[in-house]
Subunit: 112 residues, 2 copies
Amino acid sequence: MIVRVTPANANNVFRALADPTRRAIFEELTRQGEQTVHALTRYAGVSQPAVSKHLTVLKLAKLVRHRREGRETHYRARPDALAPMVYWLRHYGAFWRDRFDRLEALLERMES
Amino acid sequence: MIVRVTPANANNVFRALADPTRRAIFEELTRQGEQTVHALTRYAGVSQPAVSKHLTVLKLAKLVRHRREGRETHYRARPDALAPMVYWLRHYGAFWRDRFDRLEALLERMES
DNA sequence: AACAATCATAGCCAAATGGTTATGAGTTGT
DNA sequence: ACAACTCATAACCATTTGGCTATGATTGTT
């Protein structure tokens, strides 16, 4: 019998980031900051409805927020929503050994 | 147009860990160490062929290794295969800001 | 008012996914 | 030798997934 120890929405986060297009959208949002669906569609190379669906999945994982402004919707990344994944990694990933360098960078604080 | 910046097999890692059963298997392997398919099947709560298929996916992501011994196959976790995910997180996740505490634990070295 | 732009939703479809049972190959025990 | 065990693969199935086009609601522009 499986007992889940991962946080509740960890599953949503893992699932959301499993798709490369969705990862690319999230990456673009963190790199370039807030973007409209239109801009993201141009970037992603898939149809606008496809982008909208991806954004819905990301939103379900709380990885993005949206803000309506007139006829366009602006989306932005919420990197702190990655917490469950980081928590999981810390726990099950490199708990005993790791070879990843300069993870200290993760500890750098920057104002939101 | 999407330009991939993530390491080649990052996709495999993300995809492998997207499934909760697969995550649970990986967790069990890191917690309890090497396990046979039989033991993992008892643990996972799904059929033995299902476990074998999951292990194949994990193996494709290099998250597990296997070692034949007689009629049983022993699987073990390879936490360092999580590197692409950690790399990705460092890059796109908490590059600017983060609220995750005590990630220094990730830096603790333990002999393999 | 009419038109254009932006986006979400609905409806559709092919492919992938995660599960099952059946089976066979190899290994161990009697 | 034979029975039992371990595991991978095959074959199948239902559901999910990721894409598309069509459409409609809303907002901006002329």
